[in-house]
């Protein structure tokens, strides 16, 4: 199939339920049998598809990229005759992938049969019974009757009902508490004094400042250091009290 053709029949990656689904689509598009496909061809098509999607700046889930890497690795193994002997000893990853595809395909088909049942049974209505009148009050549940899931759902209702989805950016810690203490240890001889800003350095990252601050609080708590501040927001002057700082103590 030419590149133009492929572009013409491109389908949105959002339409697929993951890399296996996309692979099945590529195989079926060429009317190939899952068990007799030529790996190199399918791998090429898959990779091209992913590249196209990337060109369009589509957000591609990590799973797709993992599959791309797996296919590339398999393909490169096929090209390396030296590895052949090794491959025969261990299980052929290609065969494993084929089995996985067959399995996934079966579930996909069952899922679409369930979809049909759903359509029929959605249109079926049963009398509601006497559920309301005779059901035990939810409030009277004995201990042990509430499952973990109930609690989680209750919590989720409380926290997620109105709140926008939480955003959280995770930064790599720049400096650990122990490192801060080690640095302070070097900077501060016994009974010497030093300003906090001096110890942290100019233009220090927020996270670094916080780490140092926490380290100092800890040292003050242990009585190994004193800290003074002449007025609010002024620089903190530290003075070393204890000669030996054993953080494991």
């Amino acid at each position: 199939m030419s590149a133009d053709n492929q572009r013409a029949c491109r389908i949105d990656i959002e339409d697929f339920e993951g890399p296996l689904d996309l692979l099945l689509f590529l195989i079926r598009r060429d009317e190939l049998d899952v068990t007799t496909i030529h790996l190199a061809d399918v791998a090429d098509q898959y990779l091209e598809y992913i590249r196209d999607a990337e060109d369009l700046n589509l957000d591609i889930a990590g799973e797709y990229l993992v599959m791309a890497a797996t296919l590339t690795r398999m393909k490169s193994r096929l090209l390396l005759p030296v590895e052949r002997a090794l491959m025969e000893e261990t299980e052929d990853p290609m065969e494993t992938l084929m089995r996985h595809l067959v399995l996934y395909k079966a579930f996909k088909e069952v899922a679409s049969e369930l979809r049909e049942s759903e359509s029929v049974w959605r249109d079926v209505f049963a009398p509601p019974g006497e559920r309301e009148r005779y059901e035990e009050s939810i409030l009277d549940a004995d201990s042990g009757q509430t499952s973990l899931l109930d609690l989680l759902l209750a919590l989720e209702n409380l926290t997620e009902k109105n709140a926008p989805p939480p955003r959280h950016t995770i930064h790599k810690p720049l400096i650990s508490l122990t490192e801060c203490v080690q640095i302070l240890d070097k900077l501060l001889p016994v009974n010497a004094t030093r300003d906090f800003s001096d110890a942290v350095g100019e233009n220090a990252d927020e996270a670094v400042v916080v780490s140092f601050y926490v380290a100092i609080l800890e040292l003050v708590k242990r009585g190994w250091l004193t800290a003074e501040q002449s007025y609010p927001f002024a620089d903190i002057t530290m003075k070393r009290k204890e000669e030996r700082w054993g953080m494991n103590a």
Binding site: E63, F107, V110, W121, R122, F125, E130
Partner: protein, 198 residues
């Protein structure tokens, strides 16, 4: 005209809020299994010959009387806006894996589907189609999931044996059991708390 036993059973099948099993019918009416089954057939025949809008459904291991699916377009109007949306493809696939492999772990489900299935599983739990069925006694003690009787009712199944293509799927799963275990443990290797084996 229905006989006394059939009338009693019909009343039970109308008033119940979940399918009534055959043994429960026998217990409540004091009849034997066979006569209960025969009576259900008589009810069905009566409903059919009278051209009624209701039918006896064999669901989740029992019976209950429901409206004919042909009339869904009329009855559905009563519940406009209150009906659940159809399940997404992701949810249906996830549900299929759980149904045939239960009890199963999240890692196993994701191994088969090849994608993260968190949100699908959450939907299924919220809609009471799957439930937590214990923990697997392997390192990390991952949660095990299984289907509910609501699941059977939702898809009009009388029991798990009547899942589509049961024999075919059982064979396939037997063949791929090892693959699934291995893929699942590779997956959970990343999460470290879910190492799965049977």
């Amino acid at each position: 005209m229905l006989d006394q036993l059939a009338r009693q059973i019909e009343a039970l099948l109308v008033a119940t809020d979940s399918p009534v099993t055959l043994s429960r019918i026998c217990e409540l009416t004091g009849c034997g299994t066979e006569s209960a089954e025969q009576a259900v057939l008589r009810i069905e025949a009566e409903l059919l010959s009278g051209g009624h809008s209701i039918v006896v459904a064999r669901l989740a291991g029992g019976y209950r009387i429901v409206t004919d699916p042909d009339l869904g377009f009329i009855v559905g109007q009563l519940f406009e806006g209150k009906r659940h949306s159809r399940l997404s493809r992701a949810s249906l696939e996830t549900l299929a894996v759980i149904a045939y492999r239960q009890p199963t772990t999240r890692a196993q489900i994701e191994a088969v589907r090849g994608v993260n299935s968190d949100s699908a599983m959450r939907t299924l739990l919220e809609r009471d189609l799957i439930k937590i069925a214990g923990r697997q006694e392997t390192p990390g003690r991952p949660l095990l999931y299984g289907t509910t009787s609501r699941f059977l009712e939702y898809f009009g199944l009388s029991d798990l044996e009547h899942l589509p293509r049961m024999d075919e799927m059982e064979n396939l799963l037997k063949l791929s059991a090892e693959d699934i275990e291995r893929m699942a443990s590779e997956l959970s290797g990343e999460e470290s708390d879910q190492i799965t084996q049977e």
